[in-house]
Amino acid sequence: MTSAYAAVLFALALFAVPARAGERPAAIAAARAPTPVPDELLVRFKAEATAGPAGVAQRLGDRLQRALGARYAVVKLDAGKPLADALAAYRAMPEVEAVQPNYRYRFLAVPNDPLYPQLWALNNDGQPVEGGTPAAAIPGSDLDMERAWNEITDCTSVIVAVLDSGVNYLHQDLAGNLWDGTAAGFPLHGYDFLDDDNDPMPADAFGHGTHVAATIGAVGNNGLGVAGVCWRARIMALRIGDRRGATTARIVQAMQFAIEHGARIVNLSLGGSEHDPAFEAEVERARRLGVLVVTAAGNEGADNDDGASPFFPCDFPQDNVVCTAALDQSYNRASFSNFGAVSVDVGAPGTNILSAWPGRVRADDLRGWVRTGGWTEAVCNFNLGRLPALVNPASWCATPPGAYAADANDVAYKAFDLAGVRHARASFFRFLATEPDVDFLGYALSPAGGDPFAAGSVIALHSGSAGTRPIEESIDLDGCFTSSCTFGFRLQSNATVADRGVAIVGFRIDTVEPNANAYAVLQGTSMAAPHVAGVAALVWAYNPRYTYADVRAALIEGGEPVAALAGTTASGRAVNAFGALQYIAPPAGVAAVVR
């Protein structure tokens, strides 16, 4: 809270009439209001008052708690006296100049996690996000977590299932905040529906699910990394796909697993464009069984309601689906975020989101490789900027380009320390043009180090041409988790036709590591949804009697009106954690009879 804002609040508090019950308090005004001490008043007496403060209090059946200088006093009200009545009574006393509630200002709950100051989504003070895209920021555009954390930080009573690319449950900022499925036969905190085993580690080292999980429930206030919306959580890790996505079959299975094993909230940071009856049936079953499904609006910048570009599960009509658009640091709708005045329910932060990553990302600049034959370190212009590349022949970048040598058997390799990792994957882009089925580009791996084509094993061969288009490669490095794992390329040719050859760009190795302390900045409606899922868990933990519909209402009605969401979402609101905790449903079932 800025000091100017605090001053305005104080001025309003001292001279405003006592709060009356309004038809509908503005969510944000209520969210920012401090809580009055229920049985105390601050009273300022007139200078010329003949009766002393104690006498005035006594006449009204109260007592002087303590004097604050000559004319101010804290009055302790008689037990049970309503604050509003007392305010009016004191105001009516001729000796009283002003009276106000004695507000309780509390220290905000700020976790000690070292990366917390970069989590603008949780508390936006206009900070830049290291590793993110520089962006304008409007302080206060956030989930208002610190005020919410004053009330509750522990969501362990609510299981949240993360249906995603897997979760590194050994990440130092997630271990301890995962569902314990030991009794049910799932000791590794979930299931892998892609590989059909009980280990939901991201075997392809794709960190999406880990990032999502930590947004919901990275261990908070542990002096490590980031803080989740929930400082304590029970996250059920359900791996439904790899980096390429997930299928209906795996989603359906995982939803059944989640429901069967007690998840109250399902996070689905994904989507597709086809109406899918099996998926919808499972969402409907979740609704019948009281499970909330939080999902992403999609990243095409499109209108999900226009009929031309539907997006599921966001567009499913079930009211247990909370579809989330992404907001940026100024609470504008993110440029990529889909929207929909019917299908998209709320907004939440989704740009420059820092969260956990399953392991290190070793970006290699393709320098320092052991090279034979025509392999050359080069910097080539790809019309997208000049990038370091490993090329064969050396003239690959030249205009016009040259051709690789006949009878080549050229290798290039490098050693990487992969000791102790659980999974690892090399990814890069290749440009390839060789004589089809005769000249080959090969990849090889050696856990013992050295030339992997001599000491290790060849894991792939490619031939032919994809023209000038780059092909993204993703190579599993399983079996090479040593301190000197070598990965290499080999260009083999025969004596006949030679073509343009090979360029390798953007080489990196992603790992999954026990006790990982890695973090990454991502953006997307995928990142917005888990903020909402986390707040939903917090609300549900705070109100254990709630139904999914109550949680949904708290998320929406307790939200913060945001101009960028007006007309583009059903509620026009961004989820606000404190507002959601403050939310109270209008009483129902009112009946009256004359006695």
């Binding site: 009356r20 509003a84 403050q582 109270i584």
Partner: protein, 157 residues
Amino acid sequence: MIRHARTGSAFAAEATIRFCRGAALAGLCAGLWALAACGSGEAGTAERPAAEPTQIRYVEVSWDPNRESGVNRAGGGYRVYHGTTPGFSLGGARFVDVPYAGGETTPTRALLALAPGTHYIKVVAYSALNPAGSAPSAEVAITVPAAPEVFVRVQHD
């Protein structure tokens, strides 16, 4: 202000019920009900009821319990507003406060002392975190008939 505890009644364990602007009603049920002026910022200005005291009838209002924890613990409760025009505004309206009084849930019944005529009632739930309270419930209407005249035979020994 007169404050009494109604002991031995079905409501005693559920609520301390305060009638707003109803101090003059105290004579009707002295010894039974806790009556105190409250709400509307005009506490202490005991207001005479519109009708003669003998015309006042009790209306029991009930509602479903709210599921918010904050409503069902210290600092939480309900306010039962009533007015004589449909769609009445809560600002300045009379209400009965039904605060949390211990136990699992806050009471969900209140007695209103109302004059003959049609009254409109809506309930607001509140908590320590949200003292302003919820949006009001749907409004219900109740018509209080005039009380029948009662003849009392006085016997002289």
